[in-house]
Amino acid sequence: MAENKQVGRGAAIDIRSVSKVYGNFTALDNVSLGIRPGEFMTLLGPSGSGKTTTLNVVAGFTEITGGNLEVGGSSVVGIPAHKRNIGVVFQHYALFPHMTVGRNVAYPLALRKVPSAEREKRVKQALEMVKMSDFAHRYPSELSGGQQQRVALARAIVFDPPLLLMDEPLGALDKKLREWLQLEIKRIHRELGTTFVYVTHDQEEALVLSDRIAVFNRGRIEQVGTGRELYDEPQTLFVARFIGDSTVLRGQANSDGTSTAISIAGETVTMDKRLPGNGAPVLLLRPEKLALRRRGNGQGESGLNRLSGTVTEAIYLGSGSKYEVRLKDGSTAIVRSPLGEQSFDIGEAVEVTFAGADAKLLADDSTADQTLT
């Protein structure tokens, strides 16, 4: 579809305070999310967090119980799914087993009464885009999972929907194939320029694919942002825990308004930050913001915070090393040190150091751990 190559012809989506209640279960609790035209937005979260429900709501498979939903500038509430003109790719492919690949892809065009010559041309283009041109006369049962999913993708884009929804499309495939198809999906998104909304529970997949990611938890959106924003500036403990590794520390906090001191099992760390809200805070540190050194090995730079502990796990990663250090209060710090730094053995007494500026103070959320495990 080289001649159709244009950017920004996707539809904008505006989800405004949408709720979905089943009996006494709240699947979506006042969810708001704006998606820009042509954006690749990933809905990320554990199972039951509301991401698939959101997708179903946008697709029109599920009626909302409150709020408003606009696609391409006008409300679609009450419009049945088959009139929304939105492409959907399902986790289990959902190809029609009684039709060949070609007829599957032609199906939405036949429904739209596209003349047969034009239909053939567009089926061919769509199959070319997913590199399945040679399979037009096969039946879905003769294809592998990855091939079926590519056909499903062709079928969902052949009628040029301004919006494509994908519900864990790679969930049933093995890792190698998944990684390759991620790149394919990225390429197709670039070439089509339509809006993609992608549901997954795999944070790596979300980071690879997305322009922005919306993190779901318990029927709410915790945070929306680029992968970098979510990693560097998590707004909630849940987001921090869900995206990337992190060390979470709890202790007695004292704040004088501009700086905060936290005492953790007798050791005190300080940082020039205010407490978030009025509850007990947690201290969050990304692995690469932490450094290790042997205990009692002279005085380090001043201004660095220090916590003593014991190495419990040392993993060589090629690009560096990852250590798990058991701190005095029993919690585990995860430290990543780049290649070339000195190495440590399991059982060694060490000090974990970090700059106060690299620490994040977040409101404690005891439910974050529950939903994650």
Partner: protein, 299 residues
């Protein structure tokens, strides 16, 4: 994510959507509308007739339990009732004995032989029941195939037609598929590695069979036996054509009361006895059948 719209039962609570009420009520009502024609037909041609038979058994010629006291007070009726159960039991037993090895072989052979065996089971299904009974008449009659062969071999002929033996032979053949099919479906699900495990633990083949395979196949035996017994209780054509006065079953008696003697009340009472026995048996068998499903589900 568990909330796929397919499994969701939408309670139809729509707040944000100003929708006509008709569309909202269609969802829960739709399935009922689809079932309605079948249900109406069932009530009209099955429910109503059964109710009217039951009514008549209490109401004709006068209101009361007269027909039931007559039924249980007349020795001939009790003999027939007892015989009906006895013949059904014999038929069930013959079916179990014949079906068990057959179904087992079905699970053990290759696909080609299995297809032949399956077709053999299905033949009785697609050949008209009356024609099959006719075949048994030709075979069992005094001048029939079996007696002609016996005479040819210099043996004295046996009386088969119009005896209980003849009835049991004919009925068992007609009902055998109902025993084989459930047995086969259960046996197919039995994990043969369990038998191997028993053998590796030191059990002789016969011991392994009786301690592992047989108990696992019992749900299939129960299911088949219940179906065969219930169908046998209500058999009419085969006993009527193959049986004689000494092998009359309850169904024939019912027919006789209604069509020949026009005793609707008495015929109705007999019918109700038959019907109630059937449903009691079904209710008793329900737990056994459920056990079967549980096993099939854990496969």
């Amino acid at each position: 994510m568990t909330s796929s719209p397919l499994v969701e039962t939408d309670p139809g609570r729509v707040i944000a959507r100003p929708e006509p009420a008709a569309k909202r009520t269609r969802k829960p009502l739709g399935p009922w509308l689809l079932v309605m024609p079948a249900l109406v037909l069932l009530v009209a041609v099955l429910g109503y007739p059964l109710v009217s038979v039951t009514m008549r058994s209490f109401a004709e010629p006068d209101w009361g339990l007269q027909n039931y006291t007559w039924f249980f007070g007349t020795p001939v009726n009790l003999i027939v009732l007892q015989r009906t159960f006895a013949i059904s039991a014999w038929v069930t037993l013959v079916c179990v004995i014949c079906a068990y090895p057959y179904a087992f072989v079905m699970t053990a052979v290759g696909p080609k032989v299995r297809l032949v065996l399956v077709l053999c089971v299905l033949v009785p299904f697609w050949v008209s029941g009356v024609v099959r009974t006719l075949s048994w008449v030709i075979l069992l009659q005094d001048s029939g195939v079996i007696n002609t062969m016996l005479r040819g071999a210099g043996l004295s002929p046996v009386r088969l037609i119009r005896t209980q033996t003849g009835v049991v032979i004919g009925m068992a053949q007609v009902l055998l598929p109902f025993m084989i099919l459930p047995l086969y479906s259960v046996m197919r699900g039995i994990d043969l590695r369990l038998v191997q495990a028993a053998r590796s633990l030191g059990a002789r083949p016969s011991k392994a069979f009786f301690s592992v395979y047989l108990p696992l196949s019992l749900p299939g035996v129960y299911a088949g036996a219940v179906i065969v017994f219930i169908l046998a209780l209500g058999f009419y054509i085969t006993p009527a054509l193959l049986g004689g006065p000494r092998s009359t079953m309850l169904s024939t008696l019912v027919q006789n009361q209604v069509l020949s003697l026009l005793q609707w009340g008495r015929g109705g009472a007999m019918g109700v006895v038959l019907l109630v026995s059937t449903f009691i048996l079904l209710a008793l068998a329900a737990p056994l059948m459920r056990q079967r499903y549980k096993q099939a589900g854990s496969r």
